[in-house]
Structures are given as structure tokens and as C-alpha cells.
């Protein structure tokens, strides 16, 4: 087992190297407008160096003067030493901005996942146990509709109904207008209030796929020989489903949920942007759109690590949870 994990880790590091090489090369090919803008501004100050000199100095400062491969090695060395550089857009160290935003995204993701699980799993099981019933059709179509719903359209609908027509929530932002005057509890409730719509959006958009996944796996288990045996020996249906079938359905569920745990940190890029929630997704959206290379590189590397970690966790969990899987 340890050997397997070690092997997978080394493998993940190699993949990470190449993923970031591709991303770095891509970033270097973009027009480096930020550096040019700064250099232009600085060269126009009285008694300043020429534009070319500033350009050279700034490029050297940001490791942009070397070729792609040496520049990449330099970036990678900095990254692993924990030196992530300063964000151009936010003009603070990248890691500071990261700390400011990541926890909000994490809590949002966690709450979303909680609701997703308590909605998707029971409904998926109901759909599977009553296959081809009316409930199954309704659940399947609702799940598909959730998958098919564009985030921005659903968010706009929610805003129209709950913010504009009913006036229950604010349209944008994390805190209300009189946030500073509130007590500690009031501040907490204010933030919670502003997070309702984003979380509803996230849950509705993402619940469908988990529901379908539960249904499919449950159906597969219900078709297995041991379920037929359980029925044949006269167990009541409740026991067959919740004792024999559901436990086996948990195997793929645990792996998929475990695998998506790192994803809690990745932030909801689109949803956070739509609701102006200052999480990591919102922060990196603005950094990316304004060509902030250090922050974008950090965020992309972070996402790549989360993906690799998720794959690793789900593979390990698969082996741990399912005794039939033997790892060589």
C-alpha cells in the first residue's frame, strides 16, 4: 500500500511538472501588457530611465527575460520554496490574497457539498429502487435539468425572484450596507444571508450529476446476484435495499466524494463572480482577466495540485473501501 501511494505520488509530481510547463508556456506567449504598461508609466516620469531600460529591469524582476524553459525552472523552484511572488493586480503578495479568500470558498464548498449529499443520495436511491416509476422519471428529468442549467441563467432567475421581486436577499456582495455597525452575531448572520443564493445556485447546478451517479450505481448493485439471493431467501425489501444494496452503493459514492474533497478548495469561479462573493474564484477571475501572471500561475498550479490530489485520494479510497480491489 505504501509503495503504491509512493508510486502514485511520484507519478503525480511528474504530471504536475508537465501540466505547469504547458501552462507556463501559454502564459509566456500572451502579450505581457502589464509589464509594458508599468514600464511606459515609469519611463514618463521626469528624469527617469528610458522605456527599454525599465522594460529590461522589470522583465528581469519578474523572470520574464529568460527563455521559456529556464524561466519555467526558475518559477518551479520559487514555487516549491513557497515563494509565490506578488500579485500584479492586487499589489499584495499572492499568498496573502490567497489566505484572505480561500476560507470563504472552502466553507461555501463544504456547505454546498453537504446539501448536495443529503439531497442527491436519497433521491438517487428512490429513483433506482422504483425504476421506471413516475418518481424515477421526475427525479431523472430534474437531475438532467440541473445539469443542463447554465449557471449564469439560473443565478439571474434567482436574483430576479428572490432579490428583486421578493427583496429577501441582496443582489451582490458578501456583506450588507450596515455591516460595520452590526454585532459579531449580526455580522455572521449578514454573511450567511448573502451566501444563501450562491449556495442554492451551486447545489442546484451540481446536485444532478451526483443524483444520476447514485442512481446508476444503485441500479447496478440491485442487479447483482447477491441481491437476488437476498430476495430469494425471503428478506423484506427494506432490508434488501438499505442493508445489502445501499452499503455496496456506498463504495463508488465514497470514492467519488473523497475524490472531490480537494475540490472544495478550488472555489466556484463562475458563481462567485456572478454574485461578487470575494472567494478564491472571484479573486482569480479578476486576476486572470487583467493579466495578473503571478496570481494566475499560482491559482492554476493550485488547481492542478487539487486535481491530482483528488485522483489520488479516490484511487486510494477505492482500494481501501472495496476489499475486492487488490493493489499490486
Amino acid at each position: 500500500m505504501h509503495k503504491y501511494i509512493l508510486k502514485r505520488l511520484i507519478y503525480a509530481v511528474i504530471i504536475f511538472f508537465f501540466v505547469m510547463l504547458i501552462i507556463y508556456a501559454l502564459m509566456r506567449c500572451l502579450p505581457t501588457s502589464y509589464i509594458e504598461t508599468v514600464a511606459r508609466a515609469k519611463s514618463q516620469q521626469p528624469g527617469s530611465k528610458s522605456y527599454e531600460e525599465w522594460m529590461a529591469q522589470l522583465s528581469a524582476m519578474y523572470n520574464m527575460d529568460k527563455g521559456i524553459l529556464p524561466g519555467y525552472i526558475g518559477w518551479l523552484g520559487d514555487f516549491f520554496r513557497g515563494n509565490f511572488g506578488d500579485s500584479w493586480f492586487y499589489t499584495v503578495p499572492v499568498i496573502q490574497r490567497f489566505h484572505e479568500t480561500i476560507w470563504l470558498s472552502f466553507w461555501m464548498g463544504l456547505i454546498t457539498m453537504f446539501f448536495e449529499l443529503i439531497i442527491a443520495i436519497p433521491l438517487g436511491i428512490v429513483a433506482a429502487t422504483r425504476q421506471y416509476s413516475r418518481a424515477d422519471y421526475v427525479i431523472s428529468i430534474v437531475a438532467l435539468a440541473g445539469i443542463s442549467l447554465p449557471t449564469f441563467f439560473f443565478a439571474s432567475l434567482l436574483k430576479l425572484v428572490f432579490s428583486v421581486k421578493l427583496g429577501w436577499f441582496d443582489l451582490f456582495g458578501l456583506v450588507g450596507r450596515n455591516y460595520e455597525q452590526l454585532t459579531a452575531w449580526g455580522k455572521f448572520m449578514d454573511k450567511a444571508d448573502h451566501l444563501v443564493l450562491p449556495i442554492v445556485t451551486l447545489v442546484v447546478i451540481s446536485v444532478g450529476s451526483l443524483m444520476r451517479y447514485t442512481r446508476t450505481n444503485m441500479l447496478e448493485v440491485l442487479n447483482a446476484d447477491y441481491i437476488r439471493t437476498a430476495r430469494a431467501k425471503g428478506l423484506n425489501e427494506r432490508k434488501v435495499i438499505y442493508h445489502h444494496a445501499f452499503r455496496n452503493t456506498l463504495i463508488p459514492l465514497v470514492t467519488i466524494v473523497g475524490g472531490s474533497l480537494p475540490g472544495l478548495f478550488s472555489g466556484a469561479l463562475i458563481t462567485e463572480t456572478l454574485y461578487s462573493i470575494p472567494g478564491i474564484g472571484y479573486a482569480s477571475y479578476h486576476a486572470m482577466v487583467s493579466g495578473d501572471i503571478p496570481f494566475s500561475m499560482f491559482y492554476l498550479a493550485f488547481l492542478a495540485i487539487l486535481t491530482l490530489l483528488g485522483n489520488l485520494i479516490s484511487d486510494i479510497l477505492y482500494a481501501v473501501v472495496d476489499p475486492r480491489v487488490r493493489i499490486a
Binding site: 504530471i15 429502487t129 421506471y132 431523472s140 447554465p150 440491485l222 442487479n223 475540490g263 482569480s284 492554476l300
Partner: protein, 554 residues
């Protein structure tokens, strides 16, 4: 047969969560499909006897043989939800491709409307201060003017200033003549204003005095210098039948210096004012009728007259009407037409992206699956790397970069398709590799080898056709996902750009909260079409998967 014995659909579309780390789920997904492959390849034509008695037992016509394709079609059309999806898709294609031809408008045709705007035209003041005019050859300077005002307020008929005595002779209501003690007239003080009816003409002092004297005393005619003048009830002064001047307590001045206000206009205005009215119509000598609105401004104690003028503007955010069934958008373009062309763009992008990634995926997956060993290893490692690239952020960064380089919208659309297609192939490659890995071990592949068929023929003639069901299902669901991605990008302003329409960039307008709250017809139809299309692709994909499955019982 109990419920649980019925067919199982062993795989599911990998959850398309753009916000989460991509790729965590899909690995398992690909493995699932591998298991299923054996069943599909053995899907042969099952003879279905319908027991028609007139043929002998060994007559071929006794058995109705359905081709595998017909079986799939039969199973598909039995699934009502999938058929509903197909109907929606057919409608969307007709709407987008045929609708674009039938609509009388062009994609970027702008419409105009005449907008009536109230512009400041004239200002009206009711004169409450004395105005002064000096007699010919005399000078009524401002210090004396001030003394006159003081004296009238006190009600005295004389005043002295710097040892000189002046006398104030009341000639009419609010009309005084100022003279020195010896009787020399210096000038006049009055409140009713005499303005000339003829452009550029000034009235001599004597005439002005005569008009004022007659008007303030309520007389309707007078004589000055042997010439007789008449005053009508509206304050018009006529000499020899021709209009000369106009007297009124109200001072009407145009806002723009090059406008001359005719007496008829002023009369109409004053008449409305005195009646307490707020609006009047006036037709100027050129025959142009305008509507005027009078507004009292309490802070400066005057009236301003607003003229309603017609201007041609873009017909933006027009409500649905007979000419524009869904109204017009922020650029004054017909919404329904934009939706049709937007549908074209969204559907075409969905298809092209999916074709690119499918072709790439078939080639790479086919090679990996057929050759195995190091080829498989290499290609699968490349797939792993591509899986790990966070696609949404990359597309956003590239979109922003294209913004910075101001790429032409048409070229940009092509880039967008290439990028999306190129980021999408690893999933397809994995799917096909898994299928082929198991297929190539089967007897029919040994037979092809024994027959000496070339490698490329073996892959593309014998292996790939067996994977086509999986490809079709994956493509039909993939198009839905691509359309969502494309519309999200267009919504963020990083995808398809104006002047091209896309369902995403049509909805983009809701970023303006006023549009969100007021103009439902701008974004609800586009969003609904988008949702329906993606849903239909998913339904059809789902239905096809069930139909391709030979164990499917319903």
C-alpha cells in the same frame, strides 16, 4: 420479472461541474464503459417471430428480421422522454437555421424610433421690477433709478438726491415719469414690457411712452407725432394696420440666441399661463406644430417653456409588439432574429468543437488501444496531463488575452472552437481506448489478422465502427456541455463577441441590474432556449444509450 432484474445502465455522464476540479470523476467513468463493451458488440439482429400462420415453418418470410439499426431506432422511439428531446432539438434546428432565413430582419439590423424629448425652449418671467428708459437727450442714471424704486415703495411723489429735487409723476398703473423740479422729463419707469414685433427693430422713446401711457390707462388707441396707433386686448400695437409691437407684463426670452419668438407664440404662451394651463400647441409660420410644456420653477420665480422635439434614436429595449415579437435589445436589434442567429452560432460551435475533439480522441484513443504497450503508455500519460489542465481558467485567460489583442470577432470564434475542441479530446480518447482494449482481444479481430487486412483498415473499419454507439452517446451529451461552456464564456464577454449573436452574449445584458429587473424579454427567452437545447441533447444522449444497450427491455 422483478424490477431489479431489469436492465442497468452501468455508466453515467461524468459530472460536469465547472467549478470543481475537472477530471476527478471521469477516470472511473471510462472504466465502467469498458465492462459494458462486450454486450454491445454482440448486439446482433434478434429474430422476432410474430407468428403469421399462412407461411410454412421453414419459410423465411415467417420471421421478420430487423437490422441492428432498426432495433436501436425501435427502442429509441419507444422512449417518450428521448423522443421529446428529439422533438425539441428538431425545433431548435428549424428555429435557428430556417428561422434565420424566414425572418424579415438581418442579424445586425438596427431599428429606429422617433423619440420625443422636451428641450428648454424659452424662459418666461413675470416682471415685478421697474424697468427704466431715458428720454431722448437725457440720462436716467442707476443711482436715480434706485431712488425712484425707493420713492414708489414709500408712495411719495418726489424725492431729492444730492440736493437736487426730482418729481415722480404717476402716468398709469405701475408707470411713472421721472422729471426734475423744473419739469424736464428725464425718463420713465414701468413694469409692462414693450417688445418689438419685427425682428431687429427698436422703438423710439416717444412711441414707447405713448404705448405705455395708453396701455396702463386702459385706452385702446393713442397718437404720437401725428400718427395714430391702436392697442388690441391682447396687448398688440398696430400702426396703419401693421403690427408694430407687443406689450405685456411677461418677459419671454428664447434659450437659444438665434431663435426669434413671434408675437403669436408669446400671446399663446401668456394666455396659457394666465389660465393656469401647462401645455399648449403652437404651429409656427413654417407649419411645424410642436407641443410645449410650461413648468414653474419656484426657486427662481420664473417659468420655463419646454419644446417637444422629435429625434431619431435606436429603438432600444422596445417591448414585444407586432413588428418585434420579442422586442429589441440594447442595440435596437430585433430580439427574435438575434435569438435565431444566436442559436445558429451556439449549435454550430457545439458541433464543430465536438467534431474536433471526437476526431482527435478517435485517432489518439484508437492508436493507444490498438497498439498498447509504450504507445498506449505515452498517449495515456498525455491524456493524464491534459486532464489535469484546468480548462475553464485557461479559456478565460485566453479570452482576456484575445480581448487585449482585439482579435477580430470572426477569427476569435474560430479560435474559441479550436481551444474548446483541443481541451476536450482526452475524455473521448480514454473512452475509445477502453473500448478498443477489450474489442481487440475478440475472435473477429483475430480473423481480420488472419485475413491479412492492413492495420489502418483493421482499426478504422473493424474496431471503430464497434465503438460508434459509445461515441454517439458521448458526442450528444458533449454538445450540451460545450454549448453551456460557450454560452458561459460569451456571458462573461470572453467568448462570441458582438456583432455576432450567441445565446450567451444575449443574456450578458442582465449584468445591468436595470435590464434584469425591467426587461424580461431580453434574457428569459434566450436562457430558456439554452436550457431546452442542452436538456434535449442530454435526453437524446440518454435515450440513445438505453437504445444501444441490447439488454434494454423497455
Amino acid at each position: 420479472m422483478s424490477d431489479s432484474m431489469k436492465n442497468v445502465k452501468p455508466n453515467d455522464r461524468p459530472p460536469m461541474r465547472m467549478q470543481n476540479v475537472p477530471g476527478t470523476v471521469s477516470r472511473r467513468h471510462a472504466e465502467k464503459i469498458t465492462k459494458e463493451s462486450v454486450k454491445n458488440s454482440s448486439a446482433s439482429s434478434t429474430p422476432q417471430g410474430d407468428g403469421e400462420q399462412q407461411y410454412s415453418l421453414n419459410d423465411d418470410r415467417r420471421v421478420k428480421v430487423l437490422s441492428p439499426g432498426a432495433m436501436v431506432a425501435k427502442r429509441f422511439f419507444r422512449n417518450r422522454i428521448a423522443v421529446a428531446g428529439l422533438v425539441i432539438l428538431a425545433f431548435m434546428f428549424l428555429f435557428s437555421f430556417l428561422g434565420g432565413i424566414l425572418t424579415p430582419y438581418k442579424e445586425d439590423q438596427q431599428f429606429y424610433r422617433t423619440d420625443y424629448q422636451n428641450k428648454e425652449y424659452a424662459g418666461v418671467v413675470r416682471n415685478v421690477d421697474f424697468r427704466f428708459a431715458s428720454a431722448e437727450g437725457q440720462k436716467l442714471d442707476t443711482v436715480i433709478q434706485a431712488q425712484v424704486v425707493l420713492a414708489t415703495q414709500k408712495g411719495s411723489d418726489s424725492f431729492s438726491y444730492r440736493g437736487t429735487e426730482y418729481q415722480l409723476i404717476q402716468e398709469g398703473e405701475d408707470f411713472y415719469r421721472v422729471a426734475t423740479a423744473d419739469g424736464t422729463t428725464l425718463g420713465i419707469a414701468y413694469k409692462d414690457v414693450v417688445s418689438s414685433s419685427v425682428e431687429g427693430q427698436t422703438l423710439p422713446y416717444e412711441v414707447q411712452y405713448g404705448i405705455l401711457k395708453a396701455y396702463t390707462n386702459g385706452e385702446d388707441s393713442f397718437e404720437v407725432g401725428g400718427k395714430s396707433y391702436t392697442i388690441d386686448e391682447d396687448g398688440g400695437i398696430f400702426a396703419d394696420g401693421a403690427e408694430l409691437a407687443f406689450i405685456s407684463r411677461y418677459v419671454v426670452q428664447p434659450i437659444l440666441p438665434d431663435i426669434f419668438l413671434s408675437r403669436a407664440f408669446k400671446e399663446e404662451l401668456v394666455a396659457t399661463l394666465e389660465d393656469g394651463g401647462e401645455e399648449f400647441m403652437f404651429t409656427d409660420p413654417n407649419g411645424e406644430a410642436h407641443e410645449y410644456t410650461i413648468r414653474y420653477r419656484a426657486d427662481v420665480k420664473n417659468w420655463s417653456v419646454l419644446q417637444e422635439t422629435a429625434t431619431r434614436v435606436y429603438d432600444t429595449y422596445a417591448s414585444p409588439s407586432r413588428t418585434h415579437w420579442l422586442g429589441t435589445d440594447r442595440n435596437g436589434m430585433d430580439m427574435l432574429t438575434r435569438l435565431m442567429y444566436g442559436g445558429r452560432v451556439s449549435l454550430v460551435i457545439g458541433f464543430i468543437v465536438e467534431i474536433i475533439s471526437t476526431v482527435l480522441g478517435i485517432i489518439m484513443g484508437g492508436l493507444a488501444g490498438y497498439f498498447g504497450k509504450w504507445v498506449d503508455n505515452l498517449i495515456m500519460r498525455i491524456v493524464d496531463i491534459f486532464y489535469c489542465i484546468p480548462s475553464m481558467p485557461i479559456i478565460i485567460i485566453l479570452g482576456a488575452a484575445m480581448d487585449a489583442m482585439s482579435v477580430d470577432p470572426q477569427i476569435r470564434m474560430i479560435y474559441l472552437m479550436l481551444i474548446l475542441g483541443f481541451l476536450g479530446w482526452p475524455g473521448m480518447a480514454r473512452l475509445i481506448r477502453g473500448q478498443i482494449l477489450s474489442l481487440r482481444e475478440q475472435e473477429f479481430m483475430t480473423a481480420t489478422e488472419a485475413c491479412g487486412i492492413s492495420v489502418s483498415r483493421r482499426i478504422f473499419k473493424h474496431l471503430i465502427p464497434n465503438v460508434i454507439p459509445q461515441i454517439i452517446v458521448s458526442v450528444s451529451m458533449g454538445i450540451g456541455g460545450t454549448i453551456i461552456t460557450e454560452s458561459t464564456l460569451s456571458f462573461l464577454g470572453l467568448g462570441v463577441k458582438f456583432p455576432f449573436a450567441s445565446w450567451g452574449n444575449i443574456i450578458n445584458d442582465v449584468n445591468n441590474t436595470f435590464v434584469l429587473t425591467t426587461y424580461w424579454f431580453i434574457w428569459i427567452p434566450a436562457g430558456t432556449l439554452l436550457l431546452l437545447t442542452v436538456l434535449a441533447f442530454n435526453l437524446v444522449g440518454d435515450g440513445l444509450r438505453d437504445a444501444f444497450d441490447p439488454k434494454m427491455k423497455r
